[in-house]
Amino acid sequence: MSEIPSALALGLRRGRLEIRQFLRQRESVVFTLLFPVILLAIFGSVFKDTIAPGVTFSQYFVAGMIASGLVNTGFQALAITIPLERDFGTLKRLRGTPMPASSYFIGKAILVTVSMLIQILMLLGFGIVFFGLHMPTDINKWITFFWLTFLGSACSTALGIAFSVVPKSGRGASAVVSPIVIILQFFSGVFFIFTQLPPWMQQIAAIFPLKWLTQGMRSVFLPDSFAGQEVAKSWESGRTFMMLTLWLAIGVFFSVRKFRWDRD
């Protein structure tokens, strides 16, 4: 008798299946991937001002939308779909097989990565073509962009899996998760300029990862001269890295310890 396949091999297999399944659900493909682009189109058309020398609101907004895209494709998508899978009995069926939990998590991470990449490419493409988005030219900014994207995405995935135990039912999951995401987006300076928000909002936002992700993305897409206009008068890259890593650790801890396959 041969060996049971490794957790990693099964994780890759799960990733393929998750992507295939995702692409067949057309409504959710359109909603998840196109929604941020639609938001960019609306905000970009309404607010045409420049907010600092050489910085249009679209430029500011794209940074925020990429950051919140990481939250949408990871945290929001998983915290809504995993409770549904639990209600459907899909998770219990998987639990009855030799596939380990880690493979299931790897599969979800692959799905999040792929949908995140598609979303970012669409936002950037749309921004460049219609709103004169400037891409960074400095190699260091690109390095920041890559570690932010992957650390942010990992953090978002882990927190989404961890949070999936909170909604009582699959049907109610969206009602629990979506308001949290929307409020965080408002508080974290995605839709408005962060420094113009009331200080108490800024302080609450600073506890959560989205504020750090948006600030990090601004450090990529806005000129360094703009750093002086941030709350701390700097991009705070080190602090951003620390906060995201901390939240990633929290997410992984609760995912591993508290994940539930069954409704009761």
Binding site: M1, S2, E3, I4, P5, L10, R13, L17, R20, Q21, R24, Q25, L84, E85, D87, F88, G89, T90, K92, R93, R95, G96, T97, P98, M99, P100, D262
Partner: protein, 283 residues
């Protein structure tokens, strides 16, 4: 070695004692049917055997493993068992063959995908999306996922609910075939005729305990209980219960001097005995 060995199994949910001390042995290669009304503790018992729940006390061995095991040992154990739960209600956006093929990759020594699809009679539906399957087809698909790993032990939870009579017959044939290959099968069902057709032994649970375990034909003293002989005499339907139906029918035949109109001889069905047993508990 027995496939399943249970001693002194207990499980409570708060103040409710769901399982109140069960002893049970199921031998390798056997088909065992667990019967009982809703709330009798069947599901809790089976879910403990499947490793979905943990007991409060008692010893459980399934294929020589403790179902509470976790980590790599649990994978080794699950590699040898198949579980057919109630059907899933997901949107079914994958095809039959895609899903079975995918699940086959979870096991060290899976059965051939086409062979399994053929065994459950879904050849013509192999390329169909799961959401396009009828209720009975979807149930057979569930069974395919349960047996793809080539299990030594298969759990079937109410496998034929919603089947038409023909589909049930062909499903029973599939289960007989699996047993023919040496698979041990634990079946829970509400259909007494299903238990009678398939099971080597049946166990009836009520109120967290096992009332009786025996073969379907000996269950509740069926094989030795009185038979009922019914026939038509002119315009009147008559019947008589007797310990000696053969002698009784011989005499009756002499009276009629030939064929006895509308003759039937019946013993209590498994269902009759079962309902009497469950009814006594309720009273």
């Amino acid at each position: 070695m027995n496939a399943i060995e249970v001693t002194g199994l207990r499980k409570s949910y708060g103040p409710v004692d769901a399982v109140r001390g069960i002893d049970l042995s199921i031998s390798t290669g056997e088909i065992f049917a667990l019967l009982g009304p809703n709330g009798a503790g069947k599901t809790t018992t089976v879910e403990i055997l499947e490793g979905f729940r943990t007991q409060d006390s008692g010893e459980v061995q399934v294929l020589g493993f403790d179902p509470r095991t976790r980590g790599h040992v649990a994978r080794e154990w699950r590699n040898r068992i198949g579980i057919v739960l109630q059907t899933t209600s997901d949107s079914g956006d994958l095809t039959v063959i895609e899903t079975i093929e995918h699940f086959s990759g979870y096991y060290s020594n899976p059965r051939n995908v086409d062979e399994v699809i053929n065994a459950v009679g879904l050849d013509e539906k192999a390329g169909s999306l799961i959401r396009k399957l009828s209720g009975g087809q979807r149930r057979r698909f569930d069974v395919a996922l349960g047996i793809i790993g080539n299990p030594k032990l298969l759990f079937l939870d109410e496998p034929t609910t919603g089947f038409d009579p023909e589909a049930r017959r062909s499903f029973w044939a599939l289960i007989q075939e699996l047993r023919g290959n040496g698979t041990t099968i634990v079946l829970t069902t509400h259909y007494l005729d299903e238990a009678e057709a398939l099971a080597d032994r049946v166990g009836v649970m009520s109120d967290g305990q096992i009332l009786e375990i025996s073969t379907p034909s000996e269950f509740g003293g069926r094989s030795t209980s009185k038979a009922r002989v019914s026939w038509r005499d002119g315009t009147v339907l008559k019947s008589q219960t007797t310990d000696n139906p053969t002698a009784f029918v011989n005499n009756l035949g002499a009276d009629f001097n030939g064929e006895i109109p509308e003759l039937t001889i019946t013993r209590p069905s498994l269902e009759d005995v079962y309902l009497r047993m469950i009814g006594e508990i309720d009273e």
